[in-house]
Amino acid sequence: MLRAAAFTGIAAVHAAIAAPPLSLDALMDMLRREKPATVRFNETRQMALLDRPLESSGELTFTPPDRLEKRTTSPGSERLVVEGDTLVMERAGRKQTASLRQWPQVAAMLEGIRATLAGDGPRLQQVYRVTLDGDAGAWRLVLVPRDAEVAKMVARVTLGGVQGSVRRVEVDQPDGDRSLMQIAPAGR
């Protein structure tokens, strides 16, 4: 018993000291292994147009390989489901279906989040130039769109997380507007 505890302690210390730099592959592995779960989000949008940020919150569910559902409960209720190429938005009793191809900017932004959650490195790199820093305990993934048209709307998507779970998503727009989504396990 004691020996086991000591071993764990040593391992932890060892890990802390060595803190090997995290590779993208390793991160994607961790993300892939993460069990599907519903998480809560809080989103803050800052726009030059507005004096103060807009807040919204709700729940997010990711189901591998490619289904992302975002249920906003405040300020209004809204449900957004992205699956494959199809985007379904329900808002104020109205349901609208669209293809991601129709909205390349939205598609790129969603793809950044979705491919990260799915641990799909190649897909991510197809849409973005990807840089990663930090270690398994606290990593930061910076995504810069490759497509010029998309870049007019989205300058950068930054994701941060711990191990296999994403904790924040930051979107920076070229005009200086930005949004920050903070994520926490549900049912806290």
Binding site: E43, R45, M47, L49, L50, D51, R52, P53, L54, E55, S56, K70, T72, P75, G76, E78, L80, D85, T86, M89, R91, Q96, T97, A98, S99, R101, Q102, W103, Q105, V106, M109, M153, D177
Partner: protein, 792 residues
């Protein structure tokens, strides 16, 4: 001798003169191919509008394309390639596949005219509270997932009118989009919508457009490569259907009539032993056809393709005339003119009169198409009979003798004797058939005009699926608003639209199409623009409205400027849409007729699998009290039209039957003989009709035509058998000629019965079975005298 030679010369000369006159008439004839000119001259204004719409209207120009097979990505690629090709094709005025690219002109138009177009613009909207509520909604949207898309317009349009207009133009559920292009609900097909420039009734142009679609698709498949090999394109729509049905009917008629002609020619050649006689035997038919076409052309001003196709079939009886003449005169050798015709001609004459009485039912049926067929048949039969009587004997080669049929005839006579025992059973069978028909009553007849449609169930199902995928009205329920000007019609459509909106809200309706969405009435536009405040007022209201909201008034200067400018923009007219994709739907639903009346059409879309009571829809529309507004249940109206004409045709057939009986009574002067002729005919008709009903076929107007033909052909059998029964002719050869004539009829119509096209197989099976039965029945009822105890 010289007198007879002189008569022959006169007959020949008269024949040639008539042929030449007919040729001149035909040369000046307009031939039309579209099915709709076969449609009735509609009695009411609504039905006329309906028929016009079906023939030339916007609805007739819609073509729906569905690409299936492979995966969504490949289908989308094909959809894009096909759309690109067809957009460069002058045959199409619009090709849409849901790809969002290339709609800049439309977006600019909506943004520029948003205050005239938005259904939400009114004085209330621009009060302090109204502004606050509308801007609050926009801020909610900004916070939502769609925020990224809304943001660029907020400073110009903080009340969200652009979105309101786009939503209203969509008129309900937008089609599903997969891989950037429209798809059906199940995601199994890419869907495109095209409009042809030519009207749906221009079958040649529709066929060309159809071919262009197929070529574009084939090229797209070739360019996409191996992945696309397993894909197919399906094209539906009124024009595509009429083009395809023409091809189908043409193909089947050509194939089957070639087969039938070969079979009949072989039979006749075996009997005549003379190719020249075979050709001469065609003279009555050919003359009949020429005279028939000329008569229709003279009487109607134009000749329908269907008349040409079916007409020749209807005077097929004329082939029999030559058979009767050749076989029956052959037995007497050279003296045909003098002797054989003495018994032959009165019988043929009576047969022709009987047929005319039957075909009169078609002439007076009220359906122009059937009337054409009736006139064609009557003129054709008279001409054919006259040629058989006066021209053929002159032209027949001197040494002409058909194969001796007396041996075969004797066998037939023996068989006919045995048939007589069947007479009571035939009566029982006929009684049972009549009872069945009486019991089924109107149910035996198919009042659904679709029963005439050669388009397969599969194509119709595909059409329904593509329409529902696009949220396109299936043109089943429509509201028609007529007005003295475009604006009056639009204003009416707007008011009806208010009632329809309530039905959409209640989910009774899924949506509807209206030209007023693209071009609101002048009054509405003016009212909307007049409700816009001036810059100073708006600025001060905004200052109040924005209190407590995160949006600052000074950010909204573009909004204030654009609202002020919008107040002075003149209202949109239909012409303003030119150059945008909105022009086509407006042209299709807002048009002027020849006498200057404007019509606005609103297609209603019902929820899938719903049992909507059309009466409720009608009540809702009429409840608006809009003048000139009518609710149209297109299918019910068409069915009513068709059923009315079917009824009329049936009534006329009944009258025709009475005339036939009267004719026979006058000619035969003997009730028993009249019965001997009429009973087999009536029994044959009843048994064939009952047979169809027993097999689950509902009788259509084509069956009725077939039955009239049975009477026409069968009356000759009955009359000849009646005559030999009286011992007036050479029994065995006459019998043989009847069997030969019957065999040719059964062979040619039997071929037609094999067609996969309902109209053709209906006609074929009815006539083949009917002709055979009437011969058997006529033999069974023939008088016993010469058959049992031949004259010495």
């Amino acid at each position: 001798m010289s007198a007879s030679r002189c008569r022959a010369a006169v007959a020949l000369a008269a024949w040639l003169v008539v042929l030449a006159a007919c040729a001149v008439q035909i040369a000046h004839t307009r031939f039309v191919a579209d099915l709709s000119s076969f449609l009735p001259t509609a009695p009411t204004a609504e039905q006329r509008l309906l028929v016009d719409q079906l023939r030339d209207g916007a609805l007739s120009r819609v073509m729906l394309l569905g690409i299936e097979g492979a995966d969504a990505r490949v289908r989308a690629e094909l959809s894009r390639a096909v759309a690109t090709t067809l957009r460069q094709d002058a045959r199409f005025s619009i090709v849409a596949n849901g790809a969002a690219d290339g709609f800049a002109a439309e977006r600019d138009f909506v943004v520029a005219h948003r205050y005239a177009l938005s259904p939400r613009v009114n004085a209330e909207r621009f009060t302090v509270q109204g502004l606050r509520a509308a801007i609050g909604d926009t801020l909610d949207l900004l916070a939502s997932s769609a925020g990224l898309l809304v943001k660029p317009l907020v400073a110009r349009d903080p009340t969200g009118e652009t979105l309101a207009v786009l939503e209203s133009l969509q008129g309900g559920q937008a089609p599903r989009v997969l891989q950037g292009v429209w798809s059906d609900g199940e995601g199994r097909r890419a869907v495109l919508l095209a409009r042809t420039r030519a009207s749906g009734s221009d079958v040649d142009a529709q066929a060309a457009a159809l071919a262009a679609v197929q070529r574009a698709f084939d090229a797209a498949v070739a360019s996409v490569g191996a992945n696309a090999r397993e894909t197919r394109i399906g094209v539906t729509g009124p024009g595509a259907f009429s083009a395809r049905s023409r091809t189908l009917v043409k193909g089947d008629v050509a194939r089957l009539s070639t087969l039938a002609t070969a079979a009949v020619a072989t039979m006749l050649l075996v009997v005549y032993r003379s190719p020249l006689a075979l050709l001469l035997g065609l003279l009555p038919v050919v003359t009949g056809a020429v005279v028939g076409i000329a008569a229709v052309s003279a009487g109607f001003g134009l000749v329908h393709g269907i008349t040409l196709g079916f007409g020749a079939t209807l005077i097929g009886e004329a082939v029999d005339y030559a058979i009767y003449l050749f076989v029956q005169s052959g037995e007497r050798g050279r003296d045909a003119d003098a002797v054989a015709l003495r018994g032959f001609w009165p019988t043929i004459r009576l047969g022709v009169l009987t047929s005319i009485a039957g075909f009169c039912a078609l002439v007076f049926s009220g359906l122009p198409g059937l009337a054409q067929l009736g006139v064609y048949s009557i003129a054709g039969l008279v001409a054919a009979a006259l040629v058989t009587r006066y021209v053929l004997p002159v032209l027949l080669p001197a040494n002409f003798r058909v194969r001796d049929l007396s041996v075969a005839g004797a066998r037939v006579a023996a068989l006919a004797r045995r048939l007589r025992r069947l007479a009571p059973w035939i009566l029982v069978l006929a009684a049972a058939a009549l009872a069945l028909l009486a019991w089924r009553g109107d149910d035996a007849w198919d009042g659904d005009i679709a029963s005439l449609n050669p388009i397969s169930e599969r194509d119709r199902a595909l059409d329904a699926r593509l329409r529902s995928a696009l949220g396109a009205s299936d043109a089943r329920y429509m509201v028609v608003i007529r007005g003295s000007s475009a604006d009056a019609a639009i204003a009416g459509a707007e008011r009806v639209g208010v009632a329809l909106d309530a039905l959409v809200e209640a989910r009774t309706l899924e949506g509807y199409e209206s030209p007023a969405r693209f071009v609101p009435s002048l009054a509405t536009q003016r009212a909307r623009l007049a409700s816009l405040p001036d810059a100073a007022t708006l600025r001060s209201r905004l200052a109040q409205a924005l209190q407590g909201l995160p949006l600052r008034a000074d950010r909204l200067e573009p909004f204030i400027a654009e609202v002020a400018a919008a107040r002075d923009v003149p209202p949109i007219t239909p012409d303003a849409l030119e150059g945008t994709a909105f022009a086509a739907p407006v042209k299709g639903t807002l048009f002027r007729d020849a006498n200057g009346t404007w019509t606005a059409l609103m297609g209603l879309r019902l929820p899938r699998a719903s049992l909507v009571d059309p009466r409720a829809l009608r009540a809702a529309v009429l409840g608006t009290g809009v003048q000139g507004a009518t609710f149209l249940d297109v299918k019910a109206e068409l069915d009513r039209l068709y059923a009315g004409y079917l009824q009329q045709a049936l009534l006329m057939s009944g009258l025709g039957l009475a005339v036939i009986v009267a004719l026979l009574a006058i000619a035969l002067r003997d009730a028993q003989r009249v019965a001997r002729v009429m009973v087999p005919l009536a029994a044959g008709v009843a048994v064939v009709a009952a047979g169809h009903v027993l097999l689950g076929t509902r009788l259509s107007i084509l069956h009725l035509m077939g039955l009239l033909l049975v009477v026409a052909v069968g009356s000759n059998y009955a009359l000849f058998l009646d005559r030999i029964g009286l011992g007036a002719g050479a029994t065995e050869t006459t019998l043989a000629s009847l069997v030969l004539a019957n065999a040719t009829t059964v062979a040619s119509f039997g071929m037609l019965a094999l067609s996969s096209i309902p109209v053709l197989s209906a006609l074929g099976s009815t006539v083949a079975a009917g002709a055979f039965l009437t011969l058997v029945f006529s033999a069974a009822f023939a008088a016993p005298a010469p058959v049992d105890a031949p004259n010495p």
